[in-house]
Symmetry: C2
Subunit: 272 residues, 2 copies
């Protein structure tokens, strides 16, 4: 196999950021299951000299519940290593004195416990899955359309993700729906927002060119990371589709069959 | 009151096209109720020398059921005077040999009885209201994303309409959602598609400059009609909002408080 651009940069890496759903595990009705080789791959990265963080647009549960699920699957992972949109949204809401109407999964509501929510003056939507009923979307719409200047936050802008039983629509699709209904442009919190990636880099104390992002979402993981100056590699698991490799605007720095292959390559090239 | 541009053109009119929901009646859980003065206004137009047609993006029922509802409200109206998107869609599907996956209100499904629907190779969405559940939208998405070239038809592109209990999201919002999810541009059947308006003009046998459209939707009724060369007047009933009168791209040829006022003005200026 030819050495690709990301392999060239492996020796100068100081840190790796992993997307979670579709890279570590496949989601599913029963909580999902680890992708073969991923538990071991995380363990090997942690034992290496590279820093490791996890960056997800997951908004179906609090980070505590989400991380506990991954620990049960066997992953060596802790809450402080995981960056997700809800805590970032809470910070923005408090800074701007905004009171959200929430259209999010029940499981993530506790993240917003410290935020005033009466008489809402903005809407926050996350991946709400079955909660994206007509009535709930209409309720969010009515809050927005009644505001002089509608303010809409979207926790990510993903189009779809993969669960055991097939592809499922993600929050970005409903963001577009409300944007059109109310003539408003949503503020995205989460990947691919550069501010979101920067917080992860700050936490590791390293620069973007020293960092590799590995994800299954070509636009939000790979393209978002590249936009910040990182290298971006796409795994052929999760929501990956063969057409991603001829995408009109985003080209990954490399493609690997799965996380295990990526980690094997990284550690081999670094002589570990 | 100053004479506005549409009043100047009243004498040369040969026909009038009326939008229905928000002009003739307000929709509601119980079937809706006529807007005061509208039953009489339709009667007066019918007694005049003007041709009259009705043009709706209504897709919650077959034309037969829909017209029967309006007749029960007291309107003098018959099925052959009403133009709605579902029959137009059926014609397009047959012409192109397409087999639709339908995401529409149950009541309109019989319009598609004559169309083959097994092994679908396109998706047709209409105003499905409560049927726009997460599961149903996801099912439509899965059909589209599995096609090499997704084909999506949208019966109208309205943002919202008004029912007795408030504003409700319309089909255009879900069209935008699926467009974004699948990187596809929907083909719109219904207002404001010029082909759709042209069929109504053809039926009356008159030219666009001889025709006035009266509607409550500034963009789809008024703007759509103007785009075809008709005059377009907006009523301040239905989904009308004061901000429509300072819309960035569409300016109606006139505004009237309701259909009764429009008809009163038309007949007075024509000496009837």
């Amino acid at each position: 196999m030819a050495v690709t651009s990301w392999e060239d940069s492996v020796k100068s890496l100081k840190g790796v950021i992993l997307d979670m759903c579709g890279v570590l595990y496949d989601a599913g009705e029963d909580g999902g299951s680890p992708i073969p080789g991923s538990v071991e791959a995380v363990k090997r990265l942690k034992a290496s000299d590279l820093q490791l963080r996890f960056c997800t647009n997951e908004t179906q549960a609090t980070r505590e519940v989400f991380v506990a699920k991954l620990q049960r699957m066997g992953f060596d992972i802790s809450v402080c290593e995981v960056f997700s949109p809800a805590p970032a949204a809470v910070a923005v809401l408090k800074e701007r004195g905004l009171r959200p109407h929430l259209l999010v999964y029940d499981g993530v509501v506790p993240e917003f416990d410290s935020v005033e929510k009466t008489n809402p003056n903005c809407v926050v939507i996350g991946d709400a899955a079955e909660k994206f009923s007509y009535r709930n979307l209409n309720d969010a719409f009515r809050v927005l359309i009644a505001l002089e200047k509608p303010v809409l936050f979207s926790l990510g802008r993903g189009k779809y993700y993969k669960e055991d039983d097939g592809l499922k629509l993600d929050v970005g699709v409903y963001m577009k729906a409300l944007e059109y209904a109310c003539d408003v442009e949503a503020e995205v919190i989460g990947k691919p927002d550069p501010m979101f990636f920067q917080k992860v880099l700050d936490d590791m104390g390293i620069q973007s060119h020293q960092t590799l992002m590995i994800g299954d979402d070509l636009v939000n993981d790979v393209g978002g990371a590249q936009h910040c100056g990182m290298k971006g590699v796409q795994v052929r698991t999760g929501k990956y589709r063969p057409s991603d490799e001829k995408h009109p605007t985003v080209t990954a720095d490399g493609y690997v069959d799965n996380l295990a292959e990526a980690v094997e390559t990284i550690l081999k090239l670094r002589g570990q």
